[in-house]
């Protein structure tokens, strides 16, 4: 589980949109995984099993409580990247794309993360999110369209 934890935390950031909530979600998911360890099938993928668990915990248990107590979702600036490297062009682009992805509707953001960042196939992402493949496809298409238009607009304003 230790090997999966950094990715689980990162997925928790993508799910919740906030680092501090990601800490809670990742920890709760680990506890739940221990609780249900006997249900894990040896030889299957621990990461997908835990991601699915995190997704369920977020949607079914934590989100409503967090939103109620935290006053709303996704202050984008809270996920901002650590600025370890010099401000190269690629880093500026990375930061820009990250912020735009974080501003996507939640369901689109989850799909973008699983397919484009984690590299899961549509089928695998659908299984983690427990939705039909067609829904994954339409969320990705909507996300691509919105991001593409936004970035084209931004580029147009700069030129």
């Amino acid at each position: 589980m230790g090997a999966v934890f950094p990715r689980l935390w990162r997925y928790s950031v993508a799910l919740t949109g906030r680092r501090d909530w990601a800490d809670d979600l990742a920890q709760t998911t680990c506890l739940r995984a221990l609780d249900k360890a006997d249900q894990f099938e040896a030889g299957t993928h621990l990461d997908r099993w835990m991601f699915r668990m995190a997704q369920r915990i977020w949607l079914n248990e934590l989100r409503s409580r967090k939103v109620r107590t935290g006053g709303g979702l996704v202050p984008v600036e809270e996920i901002d990247l650590p600025d370890h490297s010099p401000g190269a062009e690629t880093n500026i682009l990375a930061r820009d794309v990250l912020n735009r992805v974080n501003a996507l509707p939640e369901a689109q953001r989850h799909s973008v993360f699983l397919v484009y960042v984690e590299g899961y196939s549509y089928k695998e992402a659908a299984e983690i999110m427990e939705i039909p493949i067609g829904t994954v496809m339409s969320r990705l298409a909507a996300a691509r369209k919105r991001l593409g238009e936004e970035m084209a607009d931004a580029a147009g304003q700069m030129s």
């Binding site: 934890f5 249900k36 006997d38 990247l81 650590p82 691509r144």
Partner: protein, 257 residues
């Protein structure tokens, strides 16, 4: 000459992601050679995936360490230092053996270490409870009996007459699982709201008197009766937990003789 049909955003997205089936991929690939508008649409949908991956990879470096749950707990020398819960190897074939060692060596020591094996699990779980967690839960007598009967049957020990010792109020009785063994959690609340849990799991044959310890910033008491291990955990004060534990231990001894 090329009559291009209109493709949906979903189809074009699947094409860009390499998820279009061969026929569709070939069709779109051919159409792109003549259909300028299609090329423009595709360009609109093309986003800088590499930059996105790079951004999230940077975030990966920011992941906090594993939660300080069982790591804080000393383990018997013959298990790895990260204990039973957190090594990748604990899942799968190594799980049963690893947990059994932790469980039984813990009970086999002359002086039990503060919180080996299942105690760490119990402590981690209990640390999530707050006074609000169970504040709104009120069991009727019938519900109480029904829950106690269920957990009694699951663990193989009659808990239906477990007392509300020392002013504790039973809020919920449920079955958890640890290494495939039933683990009973009786969630109590003190009058001041402090959550306290009595947990029971099948264990070795030896009796053990109440010993006090601490885990996850909470006070913890443990004892054994033949066949079962008990942990009472909750709060930051030893005195009330000790008297609660002694009362429940007296009950448990009477119950299993």
């Amino acid at each position: 000459m090329n009559q291009t049909r209109t493709y949906t955003d979903e189809e074009l997205t699947a094409f860009l992601d390499g998820e279009a089936d061969d026929a569709l991929a070939t069709e779109i690939g051919d159409a792109l050679e003549t259909d300028v508008a299609l090329g423009e649409r595709l360009a609109t949908l093309d986003i800088p995936i590499a930059a996105l991956t790079q951004a999230y990879d940077a975030l990966l470096n920011d992941a906090p360490p594993m939660p300080p749950l069982p790591e804080a707990v000393p383990e018997p020398a013959n298990t790895n230092r990260f204990g039973w819960g957190w090594g990748v190897g604990t899942f799968g074939t190594g799980l049963a053996a690893g947990l059994a060692v932790a469980l039984f060596t813990g009970f086999g020591q002359p002086a039990p270490p503060p919180a080996p094996g299942w105690a760490a699990f119990v402590a981690s779980y209990q640390s999530l409870y707050t006074p609000e967690t169970l504040a709104s839960v009120t069991l009727t007598q019938a519900e109480r009996q029904a829950q106690l009967q269920t957990v009694s049957a699951a663990v193989g020990l009659d808990l239906t007459d477990v007392p509300d010792a020392e002013g504790l109020t039973l809020k919920r009785a449920q079955i958890l699982s640890f290494n495939g063994k039933p683990l009973v959690q009786l969630a109590y609340q003190r009058a001041d709201g402090t959550p306290v849990a009595l947990c029971i799991i099948p264990a070795g044959p030896d009796d053990k008197p109440v010993s006090m310890g601490a885990a996850q910033g909470m006070e913890l008491a443990r004892w054994n009766t033949p066949g079962f291990g008990y942990i009472l955990i909750g709060g930051q004060e030893q005195a009330p937990l000790k008297s609660e534990a002694q009362a429940l231990q007296s009950w448990s001894v009477g119950d299993t003789i």
